[in-house]
Symmetry: C2
Subunit: 484 residues, 2 copies
């Protein structure tokens, strides 16, 4: 019996044979990411039922030197949850850890296991008259464990922060198969190193998150949206400042959509009406979440829009008159990625720069790309209030897309990331590193930062068994120092 076979047999003993998948037919859905960009192999897919079983399996993996790839809802965009091609790694799916352990309305917290689907967390919060503000396209199938492992962003970050800011405590299985019970529901705790935030965003390379205490917020009484047409990203920045001055923490959404983004939506989803007679170079979607009433929010919007029109910051504006219209405005924003997919393959970038640099970043980078590929079409949209742009490059009209990608993808990526780096930005604002951007991350980070990351990885996971190859390059020298 090989070490791998012994590992699988021992896992079957602990989990029960039905929860150790080895047949291609059973393992298939766990070995390919949902966009089908990454395909891996695995010696087994393991489905533990609880934290103790996760810990037991990790101890077996240590003993038999089997590398482990944790997986949540398998909705990631960077291949972080897909094993490598060797067939030597084991996938641990957290799907069966799907219990809500408790809701504490007075503490404004919910304690959930890693495999609970995001939409269920939202629903359980709502039942308790609270808001769990994390919201993103995959919310019907992504899991809170995956959200934490990748520090997911989404549409509520402006007011409520990323997943990191929504987490108070974690339960984690360490690379040695021990259970760290850090499930504290405290707003303040200054008793040592911030282990919680080290595991959040580490994409399973330092341990496996098995449960978490998440923050809830008071549920707003009303959400109202508005749209504004503007002449430039610079005007959008002035508008953001003005909106924050008027609305403070009530402002929960501020999304930028370029003219071509809106044209694409109009072309592929003509039933979605762009509410302005004329096109605008930029359209901004605003959302207010109000504790008083929809009328209060609308009145606030009216005052804001009046001042913005007076000052020449916006060219036109419309405030949603009812819930249906609010949702219709969001519909324009949400259909951009779908319209883009209809239009054909493109080169995507999920980047962030300081908010104050967005105008210059777009101008400069648009110009460089236009020089490189004349006729290229920019689908620029995203969370302006967070400095986070989906800065996507669509082939010129009528050009063969595969040829376009083959010829330009590498150079356009390098060009965009160089620009991001120049503006002290991030090459992965909300999607993480996974296997997609390891090389780029190692390239753009300073040697000091790479070394700090590698030192932490080697110290916590000296055998490099936790999701190896993701996030950070393994540094064998540091590891040897540890193992000597």
């Amino acid at each position: 019996m090989t070490a791998t076979q012994a590992f699988i047999a021992a896992c079957a003993e602990i989990l029960g044979a039905p929860h150790v998948l080895t047949h291609a037919h059973d393992t298939e859905p766990f070995l390919v990411d949902w966009r089908k960009r990454y395909r891996g192999n695995a010696c087994a897919v393991l489905l533990p039922a609880d934290t103790a079983q996760v810990a037991a399996v990790v101890r077996l993996a240590c003993q038999h030197r089997v590398a482990i790839v944790p997986q949540g809802g398998n909705t990631g965009l960077a291949g972080g949850a897909t094993p490598d091609a060797s067939g030597a790694q084991a996938v641990i799916s957290l799907k069966r850890l799907n219990r809500v352990r408790g809701v504490d309305p007075h503490n404004n917290t919910i304690t959930v296991e890693a495999g609970v689907v995001l939409a269920e967390v939202q629903a359980r919060a709502e039942e308790a008259q609270r808001l769990f503000p994390l919201s993103l396209a995959a919310e019907g199938s992504c899991t809170i464990g995956g959200n934490l492992a990748t520090n997911a962003g989404g549409t509520g970050v402006l007011r409520y922060g990323n997943t990191r800011e929504l987490c108070l405590g974690l339960e984690v299985v360490t690379p040695q198969g021990e259970i760290w019970d850090g499930l504290r529901g405290l707003r303040k705790d200054n008793t040592g190193y911030d282990l919680r935030d080290l595991f959040i965003g580490a994409e399973g390379t330092l341990g496996i998150i098995t449960a978490a205490v998440m923050k809830l917020h008071p549920a707003p009484v009303a959400k109202v949206t508005a749209l504004a047409g503007l002449a430039s990203p610079h005007a959008a920045l002035d508008f953001l400042s003005l909106a924050q001055h008027h609305a403070g923490a009530l402002l929960t959404g501020f999304e930028l959509m370029s003219d071509f983004s809106m044209r694409l939506v109009g072309k592929h989803f003509p039933q979605l009406r762009y509410p302005f007679g004329e096109p605008h170079a930029q359209t901004v979607l605003l959302e207010l979440s109000d504790s008083e009433s929809a009328e209060h929010a609308r009145a606030l919007f009216e005052r804001l829009m009046e001042e913005a029109l007076d000052k020449g910051i916006v060219e036109d504006a419309v405030v949603a008159e009812n819930l249906a219209q609010s949702q219709a405005f969001w519909g324009l924003r949400e259909h951009i990625p779908l319209a883009q997919a209809e239009e054909g393959l493109n080169i995507k970038h999920d980047i962030a720069v300081p908010i104050s640099s967005i105008g210059r970043f777009i101008e400069e980078t648009d110009a460089i790309i236009a020089r490189t590929v004349p006729g290229v079409r920019m689908v620029t949209f995203g969370h302006l209030g967070d400095g986070n742009l989906h800065y996507n490059v669509q082939a010129p009209e009528g050009i063969d897309v595969q040829r376009f990608l083959g010829e330009f993808q590498t150079s356009i990526n390098a060009l965009v990331y160089d620009q991001v780096h120049r503006h002290r930005g991030s090459i992965s604002a909300e999607h993480g590193i996974g296997q997609l951007k390891v090389d780029e991350a190692m390239h753009y980070k300073s040697p000091v930062e790479v070394r700090l990351m590698q030192t932490i990885k080697a110290a916590l996971d000296p055998d490099n068994l936790m999701n190896p190859g993701k996030v950070v390059r393994w540094n064998a020298t540091l590891a040897k120092e540890n193992l000597a």
Copy 2:
């Protein structure tokens, strides 16, 4: 020439002799904490002028094996910035790193060096029509570097979070004397391990914070306070839920003050008027920060108080009619520690429990302490909205205070911390561990958590030269593994 003498000579060459203090008369203010609870010795107090000088000094310390104690405004409450008694350690004061490197209103950030005094950060934000919400008693002399190193809390946490939540990026000198430039002003950046939050709250044991990018918020147009009298901590919890429902993110303060706290203020500061005719078991101070107007905030308060009175949650309530009255209400809260000092020495605890457990925690713990020391007087007050209590124990009236402390301090500490532990709370909510609570922290944390902390410490600072003895006990076995 000894190694220490060689180190000092080399430092003088880099910093200039006037910035290397070795005479007792010059070093004295750096060797005693401001409450005069800790006194240490040092081979030298070093005053670098910039980050490069800090890095150079740390490289010298590595070379000569001199341990280093970083110090900001020296206002800490846990002895974290005071060297040990040996006289072998060197203090690095960050005072001369006191430049504001830039304010970026569109990005809502300010970039400051570690030695900038908190009040100056607030003032510079205000000049830019922004709010830097960190606020605490020592703000006139504490520095932002110290606030970050201890993850300071204060009165704005309910809405704006601790210092951790206000920081976007750091510049840090590592234990090897390298400079990590993590000065990113981004709301979203998912490109690897969260090094920033590892250094925040580590009290200088993993590196020296030399600069930071801090978040600014829109400045509110008006701040209005109100007071309410209630029958119990349980009622205060119901009131908090109701206030959050009404006010959402406008609620920026929710402070609990026990009856005896108010009596102490009345006794020692009779000019501060308690606005209710009758005493109440608990008094709550609320603050609204409004983007519209003071009138809007007052109207919101009136609606809240009406419903709270109707429902029998509060016994009496008063909304401040003007700024002077708002400040007078805060005055009652701020004079509690001063009144307590007037009354005589006492046993202090800075603890946090889940907000939902506060009522039970106070009831149970009050009862146990009353059984242990009949006639004891409880000065309980603090940031109820954060679950953070200053749970202080004053000697029974007429008892000799020194005898009381000698007889009961150890047992009362143990009793309170056991209770905190039982309620899954924190024995240091906002003051940190320093040298004051290392033993307690190691005792109450799980072996897994202690080991994780020690592993990180040994990996990043293998020679244990960064503020040794603070926050975490050194684990020689782990260190030997590293050095082997």
